[in-house]
Structure formats: C-alpha cells, structure tokens
Amino acid sequence: MPVFYDTKIASRLMLGTAQYPSPAILAEAFKRSGAGIATVSVRREAGGERAGQDFWDLIADLGVKVLPNTAGCHSVREAVTTAQMARELFDTPWIKLEVIGHADTLQPDPFGLVEAARILTEDEFQVFPYCTEDLVLCDRLIEAGCRVLMPWGAPIGTGLGLNNVYGLRSLRAHFPDVPLVVDAGLGLPSQAAQAMELGYDAVLLNTAVAKAGDPAAMAEGFARALEAGRLAFEADPMEPRDMAAPSTPILGKAFLA
C-alpha cells in the first residue's frame, strides 16, 4: 500500500469530495470504495454561514486522511497563501499543490509549481504537486523537496484516461522509489487499472465518481480495478510479441489431415 511522507495509507484510491448529488452519496462512495484519502478545498464563507462546519463534520465522520488542495490558484502567492490557510483549517502539513497555468486545459504552470513547492517545503509543508508527466519538471520538484509526484493522466474533468502512457512509464522508471499518483483525467476503472499496471502507487479522481449515474457503485468499481491492476503489476506480466504463438502444445496432436 502507498506511503506518503511516512504515512501508510490502506487504499490506492484518493477521492475528491466535490460535485456529488448529496452529502449522503459522497459518504456512501467513500464507504463502498474504502478510499483512504479525501481531497478538500477552502472557499469564502460569510458570517453566520455554517457550510464550512457542516462540510467538515461530514469529512471528519469518514475517518480518512484529508488532503487540502490549492485548486483554482493561478499564481505562486495565491497558492502559498491558500496552502497556509488550509494548513490551519485542516490541521495537516499535507497540501495538494495546484498552480494552474492555462484556463482551457487547467494544466499546471511548471515554473510557478516548482517555486511554490520550494517555498512551501521550506515552510515545513508536505507537498503533493499536481504536475505533468514531464521528466525534467518532476526532477525539479524532487529537488524542491517533494517526496510524492502526481502527474496528470489527462486534463481535469475530461475522463480521457492516460494520454501519455510512454511518459508515465518513463517517470515510473526514473523514480522507482518516489510514490507516484495519477491525478486527474481518469474516467473509467479500466484506466485506473492501467495506471496500476504501470506500477503507479495510487490514483486521485473526483469527477469520474461524482458524475456517474451511481457514484457509490462507480467508486467501488474503481477500487476493484485498482486492486486488479496492482495484482497484475506485482504478478510480472508477460512481454507482448508481434507474432502469434500457440498456447496449446503442438506435440501429441492427432494427425487427421
């Protein structure tokens, strides 16, 4: 099971908490999937409003680790301040660091991401960077102090799956000892299984579950796919080949021609 910053997690599924039809369905999705980490955010609240407290009570009841994000931040300063507010609110040094570089693709700003990761690491945060699969960027993030990498599979909310399997496989090979999480872009359990077959440690997703017709069932589907994919990775899959090779022995076949 994955270990993030010396904390062992009992599931390979990290699940977002946004866009569910109801709080009860959100809770059921966590229960049926056994997801070990919930991602959360911080947003403005008016005086007298209890939305924040009510949401926090719901999350606390799940009994999972909480990973706050800096979603929607487009600058280093905004991301750092948001992280500081999240640390106080959720009482955790963990932060899913998002520094968004493009409004259409929501892809990370690699330059801002490295700068923010360095600032936050020096301030004793434990940073989970939402990044691309670019090897050089990931090297810089490790140099900045990150001990987890979270490359995207595809743009957030698209459900396109693993757009660059070569790049993700390459990352796994280059960082054999760094926990790797596919974060964003997954739409189906088969794509999560593929991430596991590549040797990834976990996946982080939200929309694929929350926007399914039956979110709790889909969450369980992802959990089972992760288990199957991981088993396959550990079982050392066969090498693919171009030419057919009979699986039934030729020797001893009756001569009937």
Binding site: E45, G47, G48, T81
Partner: protein, 65 residues
C-alpha cells in the same frame, strides 16, 4: 472605515481582524483568514490592525477534487 471583505465592499467600525470577525458573526466558526493576500494565523488576529482599503479574505472548508 471602508474595506473589502471576500471581494465585496464593507463598512466597518472594527480596528482589528478579530474585531471584524466578531462584527460579521463568525464567532467560533471554522475559518482561516488573509489580509492583503497574506495569511493571518488565528493567533494573530487580535494584533492584526485594519486600515482603509484592506482586502480581507475569510475562508472555510469546502468540497474539492
């Protein structure tokens, strides 16, 4: 004194961030704060003076992906 709270104009008599939070009815709410884009820890709200034009952000836990 005119300030900005969560992006909207606000007229306040409070002179500190803690006073503003009381005025707005936050009481013991689970919130975090920033003034002029800099984080202000809960323990420092009493000391955080407010000035005309300050931009105050007050946030709470929310759903996220």
């Amino acid at each position: 004194m005119k300030i900005i709270v969560n992006g909207a104009p606000h007229d306040t008599t409070a002179t500190t961030l803690a006073g503003l939070l009381d005025e707005l009815g936050h009481g013991q709410s689970k919130i975090a704060t920033a003034v002029n884009e800099s984080f202000v820890a809960a323990t420092l709200r009493e000391k955080q003076a407010l000035n005309t034009g300050d931009r105050v952000e007050i946030v709470a836990p929310r759903q996220g992906g």
